[in-house]
Symmetry: C2
Subunit: 338 residues, 2 copies
DNA sequence: TTGAAAGCGCTAACAC
DNA sequence: GTGTTAGCGCTTTCAA
């Protein structure tokens, strides 16, 4: 049973042709007579032969996959990005090799090294903050590097993203325009989620710009912040700063948790307190009441990244490989909670 | 910039040693003097050398990864399983190569073929229904095959899962014990989600066993069923069969959507209608009210699968490689909606 | 502790 | 349209 896998040699032997002819029979654009091709494919299928791409990869120096790092597999936003990326690359016969950093730049460093050892054709990372060694490895990799979900001040290579801080300026302005002044922010209490930290910074800057107190910051735990942590943080906020008029949560998940805490306490939303989130997760549009949020178009980030990668890999002239920054437009979705 | 990557030969040249010595310097258990090892590693780092695992894979016939197919990347249950699997394999230095079937056995067939071409050390598939060709490819692969999230009647190899139908028997009995008789089921209207279809079948069988009418079946669309589709289906149910006493939804996501539809209509839950879901997603425990559900312990499925794979790969005698079926216990979590 | 030779399974390049 | 030769970058094996 556990016999060693069949090789092209086995197929060639059975078909009475050379290994090279078998190889050609599997590439649809190569010169083999249609009769031999069919015969060889039939024999291969009967033998249970499975093409060995590890060998082809070594010989051709092409692996046909793109490495991608995301903070967590369990996050609908990043899942949408990866989905868009996978679908966009699939037509070109490329696959995605995914790795999870757990919101930890030390883990990211190990992961990037492991991924580069498998010789991807391009590498996509989430966010613009990395260890020095990670930056160096990416820079030296010789393959296209794309940073996403962010707009780094000093990009390593290409960028497909947006400014997380900017979104909070828009959200603060939205709430202020509704007459609210005492705004709070619920987010992680470490900077592991660098995009979440950027949003907190954006919140603080926007409050200051509006001449308002940016001090109502509630730490909800180590990122990522769950629904439950959002609920707990809302409890803390309601207990400690009961005159708060609105709260912006680092994500829709924590915003939903916060909403349920209000519901459990019988506190009207947005009557007594308004709630806003981030991410345009499905729950924001279906919860009762619906949640005001920012839609960063996660899937679009993925499809645009795929397009960029394919154009870079097909580029012949140097100009076409120049570092590109693709800004993704985001939208504020005003809903019932704010 | 786009120069060809450094090889061990480059490092060897720079260090004045043979390629073999460089190779040894990177394996921690091999015989090189500590001085040379340090020197070589330093030189390699300075040169920006990155180990090429594609070459090592070919030579050693080991790739150090496990292929995994899941229906959708955007599903917290499967994400948890993959998370448990990744973590369980990481200690052994193995990675996961993930592919998505989109709840489509034709796509699964293509995917399995692509994955096997990369020569994984084992392959994990979600569910127990596959095309004939998929079964054949898996059977002939010569590597451990693990079917998960199901208890197939005729397993291909190993199994780590549970009976989806059984969970619905427990849920129906739970509702009947509360005095409810007119029960409905909201699920997909195709069998693409085979586990969802199994749950619908389990619902029907359990109703019949209780002498109740199993005809209140609401089709909510093509799987996977979203929160919104759950809400729409609940609207259909309330309009067409308003005397329904309880509804079981194919997942917590659709159950939550159904709950919000009741909330929008001002219908008390569970006062007028009880709601149950499946999956023990975070939302079931945090929504207001909380949702009665089945916890299939998704992460445990992943960690048990990882343990099984590692023991199979380390097994020397044939007995230790005999097909195993690991049943995962699930639990009914009674909450406020039922 | 170190090195030389051979080869993993495939394909580019060149012959015929 | 088909075959031969060489070699991708490593590691196994054997020798020193």
């Amino acid at each position: 049973m556990q016999q060693s896998p069949k090789t092209m040699k086995d197929v060639a032997l059975a078909a009475g042709v050379s290994v090279m002819t078998v190889s050609r029979a599997f590439k649809s654009d190569s010169s083999v007579s249609e009769a031999t091709r069919m015969r060889i494919r039939k024999i291969a299928e009967d033998l249970g032969y499975v093409f060995d791409s590890t060998a082809a990869n070594l010989r051709t120096q092409k692996t046909n996959f793109v490495a991608v790092t995301i903070p967590s597999i369990n996050n609908a936003n990043f899942a949408d990005t990866v989905g868009g990326l996978s679908d966009g690359l699939a037509d070109a016969g490329m696959q995605v090799l995914l790795g999870y950093t757990g919101y930890d730049i030390a883990k990211e460093e190990v992961l990037v090294e492991q991924l580069l050892q498998r010789r991807p054709e391009a590498i996509v990372v989430t966010g613009g903050r990395h260890s020095e060694r990670t930056r160096r490895m990416l820079q030296n990799s010789g393959i296209p590097v794309i940073e996403t979900w962010d707009l780094p001040a000093h990009p390593i290579g290409h960028v497909v993203g947006f400014s997380n801080a900017d979104t909070m300026h828009a959200m603060v302005d939205h709430l202020v325009a509704k007459g609210m002044r005492r705004l709070a922010f619920i987010g992680g209490d470490t900077d592991g989620d660098t995009r979440g930290a950027d949003r907190r910074r954006g919140f603080i800057a926007a409050m200051q710009r509006n001449g308002l107190d940016p001090g109502r910051l509630i730490g909800a735990g180590k990122p990522p912040i769950s629904m439950r942590e959002g609920a707990v943080a809302m409890g803390v906020l309601l207990d400690s700063l009961p005159d708060t008029e609105a709260v912006i949560c680092v994500s829709d998940l924590s915003a939903f948790g916060a909403l349920t805490e209000c519901q459990r306490r019988g506190i009207p939303v947005p009557g007594q307190i308004a709630i806003a989130g981030f991410g345009a997760y499905e729950i924001a549009g279906i919860s009762h009441p619906t949640i005001t949020t920012i839609d960063p178009h996660p899937r679009l980030i993925g499809t645009e990244t795929a397009k960029l990668i394919l154009s870079l890999l097909n580029a012949t002239d140097k100009a076409a490989r120049a570092p590109a920054t693709i800004r993704i437009e985001w939208h504020l979705r005003s809903a019932e909670t704010a």
